[in-house]
Amino acid sequence: MEVSLWGTRGSLATPGPETARYGGNTSCVSVRGCEGTVLVLDAGTGIRRMATTIDASARCVNVLLTHLHMDHIQGLGFFAPLYCPDVDVHIWGPASTQLSLRARLMRYLSPPLFPVSLRELPCCLHLHEVPCGDVEIGEFRVTSALVCHPGPTVGYRICDTAGSVLTYLPDHEPALGARAFPSLPRAWTSGGVLAEASDLLIHDSQYTTHEYPGHVGWGHSSLRHMLDFGTLVESKHLVPFHHDPGHSDLDLDRLIAEAIDDAKPAYRVTPGREGMTFAL
């Protein structure tokens, strides 16, 4: 599979010269299989540009939403396939205990927040609520599971027919409430089994160790927690993701380098930058 990063910023789109290298668009990742299946992970502002790379002949696209916070759905209304009458668009995402996925999406995709209502979209729209066990999407097997983040939020584990595994946990606070982290086995750690032995793990890295205590419960990880989580799950390659809007390129260079130097992970770490592609 080919994994491309179209938006790596967390919380709020952050354009500008000081964020140009890591990118200012919010969460969006594409996954392309060898048989042509395209999965789009989250619909942050990066999805608009991502959509321009979808083959005009494509008749089916799958968008997998981890949750419905604004930075993960703000680009959805600008996802070009939604306006193509001959395209099947499958949107996967979590319902809440009280509202369906459709009802939750309509809160954004309806006036006054957006001029076009969900029901007016010309495409053939299919909504699927997750987590729903393992599902086959084209040549991929996709597993979803609820993870620790405010509101219903899932992570995705994506396996291709060659056995390569990508795990996507862009908003994740596995250390919440733990006296020490990690201190429990994978089965008792949020996202632990979902991410085990991944060839590529894209994971929340919003805060520094210094910043984290002021944001406990906000649903994000410190760089150190992310690196320790990578060790716990025996990640082979980790991509720090969901960068804080307040961190410039120079900040991220320094903070990530310091965290790696401190934790000395036994696996490869590649800071997530908009435009990057990984071949698994």
Partner: protein, 129 residues
């Protein structure tokens, strides 16, 4: 992939680890999957030593009576009622593990029901009387 606990159960354990009330967590099958340090004092055993305890073993390990010291069969224990009848229950009991001393307790068992009405387990809060 190996078996994972649900996020609700993981968070319930995190909560139990941070409070002073004795708490026991059982899963949907009735297996005792965690008890916190205050509960260790009541059960006179450490979770680190026992790990998870299957329901059949748990039934053999502890004796439970009502206030009048009449034995309560396992099917009427609060944790079992909460799990099988999907309702909270609170009652006073006497409990002891093996040959240790009897403890007089108020037990409140609350079913943990996830999205889609999935039974995830039961949180049992003990209060020593």
């Amino acid at each position: 992939m190996s078996a994972s606990k649900s996020i609700q159960i993981i968070l319930a354990r995190q909560l139990a680890s941070c409070v002073a009330m004795p708490i026991l967590l059982v899963d949907a099958a009735g297996t005792l999957i965690f008890y916190n340090e205050p509960a260790e004092a009541i059960l006179n055993q450490r979770f680190e030593e026992t790990g998870e305890i299957p329901v059949e073993e748990w039934n053999r390990l502890v004796a439970v009576t009502d206030e009048e010291r009449h034995p309560i069969p396992p099917e009427n224990w609060p944790m079992r009622v909460a799990r099988l009848q999907r309702r909270p229950i609170s009652r006073r009991i006497w409990l002891r593990r093996g040959g240790s001393e009897w403890r007089h307790l108020q037990v409140t068992a609350v079913p943990l029901v996830g999205e889609g009405e999935e039974m995830l387990g039961v949180m049992n809060i003990f209060w020593e009387i």
